[in-house]
Symmetry: C2
Subunit: 212 residues, 2 copies
Amino acid sequence: MEERQISKAVIKRLPRYYRYLGEILNSGVERISSGELSNKMQVTASQIRQDLNNFGGFGQQGYGYNVKYLHDEIGKILGVNRIHPMIIIGGGNFGHALANYDFEKDGFVTKAIFDVRPELDGTAIRGIPVMMMDQLEDFIAREPVEIAVLTLPKSRVVEVAHRLTRCGIKAFWNFAHLDLDVPEDVVVENVHLSDSLMQLSYRISNYEEEQR
Amino acid sequence: MEERQISKAVIKRLPRYYRYLGEILNSGVERISSGELSNKMQVTASQIRQDLNNFGGFGQQGYGYNVKYLHDEIGKILGVNRIHPMIIIGGGNFGHALANYDFEKDGFVTKAIFDVRPELDGTAIRGIPVMMMDQLEDFIAREPVEIAVLTLPKSRVVEVAHRLTRCGIKAFWNFAHLDLDVPEDVVVENVHLSDSLMQLSYRISNYEEEQR
């Protein structure tokens, strides 16, 4: 595969390709043309060809794509072909909901949930232990942890992110409604729910204009 | 304000402007230059000027932006200056977590949560009633509902979205890991958590390359 400079827009679309190809694979289809994929995904066929060309193409002119090969290769690009141990900070409803999610199938394995409420100490969610925040440093020293999921109140998240960074955590999945200021070698992926709702309300408000 | 054709990328950035301006406003600052805003938001000043020019500018050369005015105007563009009644479909951990969120401050007011589990009937989350799915049509006929929040299993979401569409719901905030196929006049904003995690793992895997 050649040296690449891939745009953020393409990277944003890759998980969606991965998801659709996974479904197509599960339905037993072995080869798919960009046209068929285009129909399913509601993306133009030329967009699909262009996107996949970023990664060396994968397809043979006239023969379509080998679904399994393409799925696996995109999986490798996304890094879901290996295990990503995670911890969830915050055992509230949100942390609880995330712990119940089936992220394991893509390699994201939650090892522990951390909270400050003593009544949660020693409990478990789907077999995942809930621990106290004062055990955080020990746990990370003992167990490999790649991603910290932050489901904390805005007022506490900055301090906790610092603490995690000091422990060597290099990746945050941040649900707090705040942009974290982290060292250069740390990656943060934000899920800002209010921002998403506002985009929805923008689209509701501007729907009629969009149609013109 | 002149006739506009605003790119999706700009619209994606608007909620973030709104959030930062809200914080600046709360800290008592009345005017801000694009340079200062740029420092806070880690976006270039020229990007800020360009983005805001899409909406007629708001700023006076050399005087900076009036924070309150800019905040309010962006709020109007995003449609958060009015009330958006919502219902949450699915009273599991995720629906529960969303019901506990403070979305009201931006006008998103949850009116009811719907579920199928009889033991939840008549309960409430933060004062918001939990109702049974067989009351859905009656409720929507009786109460104004703009947005339906879908926190259902993938296997049930398609049928429920159809049902809601038949009731006249035109906006979905979809947390199910599936792209909904909806009529043209319905808007859907997806929060695909797995996709977000995969983008994080892509960035972890490609961090070293990014630095070169």
